[in-house]
């Protein structure tokens, strides 16, 4: 029995980690094609990344979009979370909770198409803002989950105490509630950032010109060449994600959303 489990475990580990380790391994290879095993050692693929304007621009675009989308989604999550937390007996509470999960129900690629027609072509909103709208929509459920959970865990007593001591509700919100959900705030922000940064499908149809996000720039490059430059970018991205996660771990504790 133990042997079976061991087999399944190793297969799973290989399955999950294999595709991530492979690009790392060939990013230093001096062979131009994506063959395995890698031969030689060179850093030229890393230099190549910076030769291509689109990759650097892509990183900047992706970061701007992710930061804005995360920020917006958290802001948009705060009022509803507060309302739901205050009104335990609110009749349409369940409805609102589910409403915020709607973006998870719509496939990213479908949403990208909808926004292309409605937001980009009809409302004539620029590519960058269309992307921000799209990314905000897809991270909203994540933000909502974290913020709502954090506020709920506070318990109404704290706020009631402050109000009974004379503070207005608004002041109480900023003085009492916000500081106490700092962990959730930061954790939620970072989760949203990671999800947005890595989201590809939502950006597929909305990327034009200057504001092409990094994943789309990588896809476009793959149409032209398969050399290890993409592997080099992958290595950098994995390092980037690792650094972000470790920061999250330090501030909040990773375990909280490995539910």
């Amino acid at each position: 029995m133990k042997a079976l489990f061991f087999l399944v475990a190793s297969v799973t580990v290989c399955l999950l980690l294999g595709p991530i380790i492979m690009p790392l391994s060939i990013s230093f290879s001096s062979v131009e094609t994506i063959s395995f095993p890698p031969k030689g050692f060179t850093l030229r693929w890393f230099y190549n990344i910076f030769e291509y304007e689109t990759f650097v621009n892509g990183f900047v675009s992706s970061s701007i979009i992710a930061l804005t989308a995360s920020f917006l989604s958290i802001i948009l999550s705060l009022p509803p979370s507060y309302t739901l937390y205050r009104y335990k007996g609110f009749k349409i509470k369940g409805f609102i909770e589910n409403f915020f999960m709607l973006p998870m129900l719509i496939p990213e690629i479908v949403l990208s198409y909808l926004l292309l027609i409605f937001v980009y072509h009809t409302l004539k909103i620029t590519s960058l803002f269309s992307l921000i709208i799209g990314h905000t929509l897809i991270v909203l459920p994540y933000a909502m989950r974290v913020i709502y959970a954090s506020i709920s865990n506070l318990g109404v007593d704290i706020e009631d105490a402050a109000v009974s001591l004379g503070q207005s509700r608004v002041a109480a919100f900023f003085d009492i509630i916000l500081p106490n959900i700092k962990q959730g705030f930061v954790g939620g922000f970072l989760t949203c950032f990671m999800v947005s940064f890595n989201a590809v499908s939502i950006s597929l149809f909305l990327s034009f010109g200057e504001s092409i996000p990094l994943p789309v720039a990588m896809l476009n490059y793959l149409q032209i060449r398969y050399d290890p430059t993409i592997a080099a970018i992958s290595t950098l991205l994995v390092a980037f994600s690792a650094i972000l996660s470790i920061s999250v771990e330090r501030i909040v504790g990773l375990v909280s959303w490995v539910r």
Binding site: S35, I106, V110, T136, M194, I230
Partner: protein, 272 residues
């Protein structure tokens, strides 16, 4: 606690956020449908095409195969992890969580390195003299399923594991002490009690396979198109907005139908 009405009615607070979702999600959906002239006719024309039928069938088939693969791996693994020490548990939780931090392009690229004719598997096989010629592994449905399995496995593992954690060990012990064989224990006890988690995972996988674009494109190619690849094709290559809307709706309906069906199924089976 009494509701005091302040200067801002508290129940109006969620409004801006709700409007945001309403406008950009639902309104855009309605707009796109009405934007197409002759929508009903175009819709029927699109889904009546033979080409569409093959793609739809393939998407479902791929989804089911990936679910099968995930089930095969997830059940033994979650059972094993659940009955292990907490450090093993944490280890697996991290391993499963890690790939989610990496974007699907990188992961598909990794698969290309593994499955290509000059890749890991072929090099290994020829080194061991097991094959004369490199095998054709890429641009097949198999490659696509493998990629999707890797992509969605965490979404089966995590809910199933939490269901497993809720399983009381005593029930299993009791059943075993009463003489039930491993298989019976599984079907009569483990499976029903972890059903909720399993169905959650299954739903995510099926919905995901219908909507994933990057992995099927890079690993399957034009020969093995899925619904989302067809959507992309109508938009960027064939420039047929009507057909694109129809395809988008089919993907949407499929995802919603899968969600509804398995939620209802789960509720029904739990009652039994």
């Amino acid at each position: 606690m009494e509701v005091k009405s302040g200067r801002v009615k508290v129940y109006l607070l969620p409004l801006p956020s709700l409007i945001f979702i309403l406008v950009f999600l639902l309104l855009s959906l309605l707009y796109v449908i009405f934007y197409t002239p002759n929508f009903l006719q175009t819709f029927i024309e699109t889904i009546a095409k033979e080409d569409f039928f093959y793609v739809f069938l393939r998407t479902i088939r791929v989804g089911l195969i990936v679910v099968f693969g995930a089930t095969l791996l997830a059940y033994p693994l979650t059972y094993y992890v659940n009955s292990s020490s907490s450090s093993v548990k944490t280890f697996f939780k991290i391993i499963v969580f890690l790939p989610l931090m990496v974007n699907p392009i990188v992961r598909s690229y990794g698969w290309i390195i593994i499955l290509g004719r000059e890749g890991l598997i072929n090099t290994l096989l020829s080194y061991l003299n097991l094959t004369v010629e490199p095998l054709r592994l890429l641009y097949t449905e198999f490659a696509m399923e493998l990629g999707l399995l890797e992509l969605f496995f965490p979404f089966m593992f995590i809910p199933l594991l939490s269901s497993m954690e809720n399983l009381s060990n005593e029930v299993i012990m009791a059943a075993k002490s009463l003489g039930a064989s491993g298989l019976r224990v599984f079907f009569n006890i483990i499976f029903p009690l972890t059903l909720k988690g399993y169905l959650t995972g299954l739903t995510v996988i099926l919905a995901g396979c219908a909507s994933a674009y990057v992995t099927p494109t890079l690993l399957g190619g034009f020969r093995n198109r899925t619904l989302s690849m067809l959507l992309y094709e109508y938009i960027e290559i064939r420039f047929d907005w009507g057909a694109a809307t129809a395809t988008a709706l089919v993907i949407l309906f499929t995802v919603i139908a899968v969600n509804l069906f398995f939620t209802k199924l789960g509720d029904y089976l739990v009652k039994r």
